[in-house]
């Protein structure tokens, strides 16, 4: 009863169902109340993890391998906390956004509830088949949300996204089948000790299949093709949600399996390959972002580039000294957190500006600096986080990552990270520059409700405070 773990799964499902009962577009207030409760639950859970190390939870009382285990360690705690910290302001934002009634809200709230349940379960699950189910739940919720706008662009994006996510989970499931065939279990706790350096073809293949499936969902170059249309074409609160959190879920799984289940197979070559793809993603995403004329597409391509940045983590944690690996891990996690907050804020701010301009066009931004100073400030600060400049969490992450790369002598990745930061400055300043220009005479800005501006600002504010509280995040991370 007093344990927060089951409630983190049941509560979002419950309010999801209830808001469906309430009808189309309803349920926002219920959702926000429940999100507050969930945030408290997560805080409680994180407190427990910090106090008493990892938490295991045997669902149904049948522990692995018969039943399904949940496992909350430091990394999972950070992700859970991050999810709820991001989603609460976004929820408030979404309520206000949909009240402006620009794009159909549809069944946004029920889908959000189910999506959140999927995320929470995914972060905690220690069972690769259960993870498959959460991946499907997450994927379908995300696709459904993308489709709520209902115009051609978003339907096309949704179909493409759906097919990719199904392909991804299908391939993942094939890997699960091979693992079950090899070991007769799908529980991580059972499997981890069984996988050794020398594995059978089946297990090796399973690792590759699961990795590819998750990479498809994470949209690492060259699997990124579906992302810009899906993230750029969805209603703004959905874009923010997808870029900030949904992408992170599959990345989290890759990281988790890299460090845990498949650690014996995680060779330096594989790490270099992932890092190399990440480097290409940074380059390609940044250039494409720079060439966009629409604000949301720019932010979406920026996500492509930032995903590349995450994958630079792998060469830094594989077969290097334990100290360098630990620093890199810390940097990588802060990078995840900072990016989630910043990207959510960036999309939210972009949404406010688009509402005010009436059209998604960067060229129309001139003069917005005096109309929406707070929103522009939000956007700018989010951009600074992406560039990895002080005083943001992005900077702390970059500092740690570069420190680790320097101390393990991987200078190539140092150069990539530095270039990545500079390239992101290119597209962020493209927007800021336009916004600082004097307004065109014929431009009319529509007034915007402050309840849209403030949640977006809150997200960047949290991201800013993160740079001063990174120690706390790392404490949680280290608790596992």
């Amino acid at each position: 009863m007093s344990d927060p773990i089951p409630w983190l799964i049941l509560l979002p499902l419950l309010w999801g169902l209830l808001s469906f009962l309430l009808g189309v577009g309803r349920g926002g207030r219920l959702a926000i109340v429940c999100l507050v409760i969930q945030l408290a639950l997560v805080a409680l859970l994180v407190g427990q993890v910090v106090a008493e190390k990892d938490r295991y939870y045997a669902v149904g009382g049948w522990s692995a391998p018969l039943g399904i285990d949940l496992h909350v360690d430091g990394l999972a705690s950070v992700m859970l906390l991050l999810t709820h910290v991001v989603i609460l302001p976004l929820g408030i934002y979404a309520r206000s956004y949909f009240s402006h009634n620009v794009e159909g809200v549809g069944y946004f709230w029920p889908m959000l509830g189910l999506l959140l349940a999927a995320l929470n379960t995914l972060f905690m699950s220690a069972d690769i088949f259960n993870i498959y189910v959460t991946l499907e739940l997450l994927g379908l919720a995300a696709v459904g949300l993308v489709g709520t706008a209902g115009n051609t662009r978003s339907i096309l994006a949704a179909i493409r996204y759906l097919l990719v996510t199904l392909l991804g989970s299908g391939v993942y499931l094939a890997g699960v089948a091979l693992i079950y065939g090899s070991y007769g279990s799908v529980a991580l706790a059972v499997l981890e000790p069984l996988i050794e350096n020398e594995v059978s073809v089946a297990v090796f293949l399973a690792a590759i299949l699961m990795l590819v499936g998750l990479l498809l969902k994470t949209a690492l170059f060259p699997f990124h093709f579906w992302l810009p249309s899906a993230h750029g074409g969805a209603p703004t609160p959905v874009s923010a949600l997808l870029s900030a959190l949904v992408i992170k879920a599959s990345f989290y799984l890759i990281l988790r399996m890299w460090l845990g289940l498949y650690a014996p197979l995680a060779t330096i070559q594989a790490a270099q390959l992932l890092g190399g793809l990440g480097a290409v993603a940074i380059l390609w995403g940044s250039i494409m972002a720079f060439n966009q004329t629409r604000l949301k597409m720019l932010a979406a391509y920026s996500t492509v580039a930032q995903i590349g940045y995450f994958f630079l983590l792998f060469p830094l944690i594989t077969e290097v000294g334990s100290e360098a690996a630990e620093i890199a891990m810390q940097g990588g996690v802060i990078q995840l957190v900072a990016h989630a907050l910043a990207k959510a804020a960036m999309f939210a701010a972009a949404g406010v500006m688009i509402l005010s301009m009436g059209k998604d066009d960067i060229a129309l931004l001139s003069g917005i600096s005096s109309r929406l100073p707070l929103t522009l400030f939000t956007f700018a600060l989010a951009g600074v986080t992406l560039m990895g400049l002080p005083p943001t969490g992005g900077f702390i992450a970059k500092w740690l990552l570069i420190s680790s790369a320097v101390s393990s002598g991987q200078w190539g990745w140092v150069v990539v990270m530095i270039l990545g930061g500079l390239l992101s400055a290119g597209y962020v300043f493209k927007v800021l520059r336009q916004a600082l220009l004097p307004a065109a005479a014929e431009m009319k800005f529509r007034p915007v409700n402050p309840s849209l501006e403030w949640p977006a600002f809150l997200l960047t504010f949290i991201s800013l405070s993160l740079s001063f509280a990174s120690n706390n995040v790392l404490n949680i991370l280290g608790a596992g």
């Binding site: 051609t152 759906l162 392909l167 499931l173 079950y180 065939g181």
Partner: protein, 121 residues
């Protein structure tokens, strides 16, 4: 090689056929069918691989049941999208360039406006 492994091998073959079809076939309905073939292949693999000692293993069977339900759900969602797309663009394929997309969008908006105008009369 036990009999159960034949199912797994056939499953593997179906799986790769599905994957290739999902990537290569242009028509969306075919893509959806390919996805279902892929799914069936995986389910066969799961059941076939689970049956090591020729005793039916209930765990993969339950998993496959779960998987089938998920596949049904995904198929339904995909079909709903495709029908919507068919209504919007009269095509069940991806539209390649975004310019033509904008044009169809505008056409659609005028069409809906005209309809509303008709209705109000």
């Amino acid at each position: 090689m036990t009999g159960a492994l034949i199912y797994a091998c056939v499953g593997a073959a179906l799986f790769v056929c599905g994957v290739a079809g999902l990537i290569l076939l242009p028509h969306l309905l075919r893509k959806i069918l390919a996805f279902n073939i892929m799914g069936s292949g995986v389910f066969l693999m799961l059941v076939g691989l689970g049956q090591h000692d020729n005793i039916p293993d209930p765990i993969p069977q339950a998993m496959v049941l779960t998987g089938i339900v998920v596949a049904v759900a995904a198929t339904a969602l995909a079909l709903a999208f495709v029908r919507r797309l068919l209504y919007l663009t009269s095509k069940a394929q991806f539209v390649a360039n975004s310019k033509s997309l904008d044009q169809t969008e505008e056409k659609l908006i005028t069409r809906e406006r005209n309809k509303e105008g008709d209705a109000s009369k």
